[in-house]
Symmetry: C2
Subunit: 232 residues, 2 copies
DNA sequence: ATTACTATAGCTCGAGTAG
DNA sequence: TCTACTCGAGCTATAGTAA
């Protein structure tokens, strides 16, 4: 038999368990009516009722129907289901150290985009204000080789960072850019920039600074550098 | 409009994204045919094809159809979806320190179950061998008050611990029990026991030792103690 | 080998409603 | 109010194919 339908059901149940867990059902029984749960999950009361019955039948939760709703507790099997997804996701996004991130990258030729964007007044003014330097018109592009580093790079996307707001200049709109202060070989102030929309692959990271970084550091294509990023 | 159907679809997509991510699509494009993906997810080739098309349409992945399959990459929106679930689950299961876990609990009256189980030869012999003491027939039951502590308790369930195997004595079967070495106020050797099946709530933790812990520590119901658990 | 269209069997959801 | 049953409308999965 096809297990997909079963897996799909589990993913659906995950959604409900997440809601219940967020209501505190992992810790102590919670009292909730099918109506309220239905509102939280944006489904009909009937569906909420049915789902809870199914979950009880599968031993994922225990229920006790009272006058004004039900007392629901997530049972071990339910916790296991949550932990299973937790583990799979954690395995994918391995934890990073807080505060600082170190990435190794190889210098590669950019697309010339950086030069273009770093010359736009809308960005320049904000970078000066928020990062403390007037950006040299051009970016240093580093290609990440290591799987670990690419995962870190992905982590960066979810961190708040320093927001360089987008703008429109009458012709087109320019998107938000996220930035993190950084340094290479002790040389700073530098910053990593992550445009909201980018044509680069996830394995490329762009570095800006108040000077031509390649020249200042004597770098050429293919050189490997360590980049320290301050997550602040 | 009901958002539940939308949430359900997202949970379903999570399942597929997880499979793709586990194949490495977060890092670099992966080459896979709808047939192979269908096998992995235990669905029909047609469904795999449709799902991928839907996900592409929603901007979650990018595809490039080649002669022998497709080149698939998870795009930012897809990564966001994974991170969203990751964050929600992490929020529920906060990270614990490795090696040692400290829990605070209040002494409560047990159900008399502990006394019964700790007298069974099948368990006693194993405890002696694996934990290094002959258990006193009775358990100290601690009620966890703190949310943080209950979350830690939940974490314990997923850690390997020391396995005390279940057995059958001709009449009924006795389930596996997981144990962790522990101490209270510097007094040891003690151990925390987590039966596979238990009638206790998730906020109760059972402690065993080679002596009557209540007497030895002069504890009475309502006393608060700190329990150190060795996760080994 | 691929991907993907069409048609249908089967499943799910929620309105109506009972208890 | 509550939970939960029935049943039809609508959605989803896959077998059969085409390209």
């Amino acid at each position: 038999m096809k297990r997909w339908i079963f897996r799909k059901k589990r993913a659906e149940i995950l959604e409900i368990l997440l809601a219940l867990a967020e209501l505190g059902a992992l810790i102590k029984p919670i009292e909730i009516s099918t109506n309220k749960l239905a509102k939280i999950l944006d489904m009909s009361q009937q569906s909420a009722s049915r789902k809870l019955r199914e979950m009880e039948k599968e031993g994922l939760i225990s229920r006790e129907i009272t006058a004004l709703g039900e007392k629901i507790r997530i049972r071990n099997a339910g916790i296991s289901l949550l932990l299973e997804y937790h583990d799979r996701l954690c395995e994918i996004f391995r934890k990073i150290k807080p505060g600082i991130m170190v990435l190794k990258g190889v210098v590669v030729r950019g697309l010339g985009e950086g030069r273009y964007y770093m010359a736009l007044k809308g960005y320049v003014a904000q970078i000066k204000e928020k990062l403390g330097f007037k950006p040299y018109p051009g970016t240093l592009n580093l290609k990440l080789k290591n799987t670990e580093d690419i995962l870190k790079r992905i982590e960066l996307q979810r961190l708040p960072g320093i927001l360089i707001k987008g703008f429109l200049d009458g012709v087109r709109t320019y998107g938000d850019v996220k930035a993190f202060k950084a340094e290479i070989n002790g040389i700073k102030p530098l910053a990593v920039v992550l445009p909201e929309r980018t044509s680069h692959g996830i394995d490329i990271i762009e570095v800006i600074g108040p000077f031509n970084i390649r020249e200042k550091l004597g770098l050429k294509n293919g050189d490997e550098v360590s980049l320290i990023i301050y997550l602040q």
